[in-house]
């Protein structure tokens, strides 16, 4: 019984990270109808920035801030780069995959392929919640991603910028006619997505095997599954989907997680084919 509770809590903590990744994918999909397949690679690059800055300054938090900053910059740059490829969805994905290999080449050149242990901001002393031991990094990344998700939902639904983003997502032509700077809004969405991915990546790594150039591949697929389950257009759907994926992967066990993610995706495609990707409105 205790084991089940532990697995559930672990699943929800992981799910929070998948939710954040899914949310980043929803952000870029809503603004530009592109699924950013380079999201995982961008987040790994930001994690390496955090790792390096933290090692130089000695402060985890300065490293995290640097990761967020580089996430914003890399996200906006990626949007710029993919803008010309956006006319055909196939081209946008190919360009994103090209970017993945370029980022991986840069990281391999600078850092090699060895797995680096990554630090957590707090000691790994177990934190006890309701009689169940929680390892602190898990609790931290759950809290961090919940915070990020809440801030994003507030941005979407309570601010003028959020309104502009929703307008561009649902009716780009009308939004443009009404004076929304669609290009800027798209870049902002990608920059935000880059920051969210960076935070999720940095927070997720202490619980994983460590930092290496392909460290977040599985997290990206899990986040993609979360976004697909949620319908790709709905931020809250990505959050719910992320928690569900986290639970399933936790129950399946770490060893079988990629297989479980694949099975979930295939099941989603067979069972809910129509509702998964609403067609782009033109």
């Amino acid at each position: 019984m205790d084991h089940l509770v532990l697995l559930t809590l672990d699943g929800l903590a992981r799910g929070a990270v998948y939710a954040a990744f899914g949310l980043a994918l929803v952000l870029t999909w809503r603004g530009t109808r592109v699924v950013n397949f380079a999201q995982g690679a961008l987040a790994v690059a930001c994690a390496y920035v955090a790792h390096t800055v933290a090692a130089v300054t000695g402060s985890y938090w300065v490293g995290l801030a640097a990761a967020v900053g580089s996430g914003v910059v890399l996200g906006a740059l990626t949007e710029r780069l993919l803008r010309r490829a956006r006319a055909r969805p196939v081209d946008a994905v190919i360009a994103a995959v090209g970017l993945v290999l370029v980022i991986r080449a840069v990281l391999v050149t600078l850092y090699g392929t060895d797995v680096r242990p990554v630090g957590a901001p707090f000691a790994r002393a177990p934190l006890t919640v309701a009689g169940v031991e929680l390892v602190s990094p898990d609790a931290l990344f759950a809290a961090g991603t919940v915070l990020a998700v809440t801030l994003l939902l507030l941005l979407f639904h309570r601010t003028g910028t959020g309104l502009a983003m929703r307008a561009v997502a649902s009716a780009p032509e009308v939004a443009r006619l009404l004076g929304v700077r669609a290009g800027r809004v798209a870049a902002l969405g990608w920059a935000l997505a880059g920051a969210v991915g960076a935070v999720a990546g940095v927070l997720a790594l202490p619980a994983g095997p460590g930092l290496h150039p392909a460290a977040l591949d599985l997290v990206f697929v899990a986040g993609f599954t979360a976004a697909v389950l949620g319908g790709l257009d709905r931020p809250l759907g990505a959050v719910v989907g992320g928690l569900a994926v986290g639970l399933v992967l936790s129950y399946a066990g770490a060893a079988a997680a990629p297989v479980a993610a694949g099975v979930l995706l295939v099941a989603a495609g067979v069972l809910r084919p129509a509702g998964l990707f609403p067609a782009a409105r033109t």
Partner: protein, 357 residues
């Protein structure tokens, strides 16, 4: 949006079009294939063992890239998991050779054929799952499958050998003659190119293009979108299974490290650089996949850097070349290498079979 020349808008007339539109076209393909095959088999007698091995490896990759270029360029679908499909074919050959290989040298070609069949089964499941959802769903599913390869081999370590993989039994003593596996790879690549070249000029190829360009219009002409997409994926999966099975035979072993997710991404990008939708572009892609690692090692060794940096560069340079090359093609050079060459040779823009528009 390009509309394909459909012979008629009436479904009946469309169906009446022969599978091989023109027997002369098929004969032309056959002549080219046999000539190329004969030339390369002759080359295996002149080249040293290392170069013969590279040539055979390129032939095995050509099976995969030819199938993938049809999927990406002609049918407009993306796969980030063809490495996993190759692994399916490769492990099938290893397992069958282990069980039945000692019965005779004739088992090996049958094992390769069985590898293709098993991969067709896997491809049909994936293709069916991805047939109806729109958008980049297939890319995500295939990426998940690519990540699952090392997990599956570890979970079923008793059968599949875990991280160390499996040896591939070459056949009973005295074993096959020195160049036999290279000839097998060349013959398989030639057969793949012949079948795909005819497929592209036949009704099936036009159906792939029609569904890629406008699914609604294709549906009005009597072409079912979902079924056509599944067929395209299964065809390319069969080619990937064949390529993987041949690589297993050529390498003499299979291991999950040989079919890492990076291989799947590299296959896609190489096909794009070669020119998606063009079989000649698939040849470029296969050559790139074989030569880039060698070129990366040579360049890293030539640079004035330490041994550790050189090792990193040797790994990073091929990735960077593929990534940057694909970005340049998508953003600036639609049609890839083959598109560029075709333009130069003919002095006018080549009619693209399906390079990114």
């Amino acid at each position: 949006m390009t509309l394909v020349p459909v012979t008629s808008h009436r479904p009946a007339a469309h169906r009446a079009t022969p599978r091989f539109r023109d027997r002369a076209v098929a004969a032309h393909h056959l002549l080219l294939t046999v000539a190329g095959f004969g030339l390369l088999v002759g080359a295996t007698f002149l080249l040293g063992p290392v170069r013969t091995d590279r040539l055979a490896t390129a032939a095995a990759y050509l099976c995969v890239t030819a199938g993938l270029t049809v999927l990406v360029g002609t049918a407009g679908q993306l796969s980030l998991g063809h490495g996993a499909l190759m692994a399916t074919g490769a492990y099938t050959v290893a397992l069958l050779q282990d069980s039945y290989g000692q019965r005779g040298p004739w088992v090996l070609p049958l094992a390769v054929a069985a590898g293709v069949l098993v991969t067709i089964g896997v491809g049909a499941v994936l293709g069916f799952a991805a047939a109806r959802p729109r958008g980049p769903y297939l890319a995500g599913v295939t990426l998940a499958v690519a990540l699952a390869v090392p997990v599956v081999t570890t979970l079923a370590a008793g059968v599949l050998g875990g991280d160390r993989g499996l040896p591939v039994y070459p056949g009973p003593p005295p074993g096959p003659p020195a160049r036999a596996s290279a000839w097998l790879a060349l013959a398989a690549a030639a057969a793949t190119l012949f079948v795909l070249a005819n497929l592209l000029t036949s009704r099936v190829g036009r159906e792939f293009r029609a569904v890629r360009d406008d699914e609604v219009a294709a549906g009005l002409a009597g072409i079912p979108g979902a079924r056509t997409r599944v067929l395209a994926f299964v065809v390319s999966a069969a080619c990937a299974g064949l390529g993987g099975a041949l690589l297993a035979v050529l390498d003499g072993s299979v291991s999950p490290g040989g079919f890492a997710p990076t291989l799947s991404l590299a296959l896609l990008l190489a096909v794009v650089i070669g020119g998606a939708g063009s079989l000649a572009g698939a040849v470029w892609a296969a050559v790139l996949l074989v030569l880039l690692p060698d070129a990366g090692r040579a360049l890293a060794a030539a640079l004035p850097v330490g041994a550790e940096t050189a090792g990193r560069l040797a790994e990073a340079l091929p990735l960077a070349a593929l990534g940057l090359g694909a970005l340049v093609v998508v953003l600036a050079v639609p049609g890839g290498l083959q598109g560029l060459l075709g333009r130069r040779h003919r002095g006018r823009p080549r009619r693209r079979e399906g390079g990114p528009a």
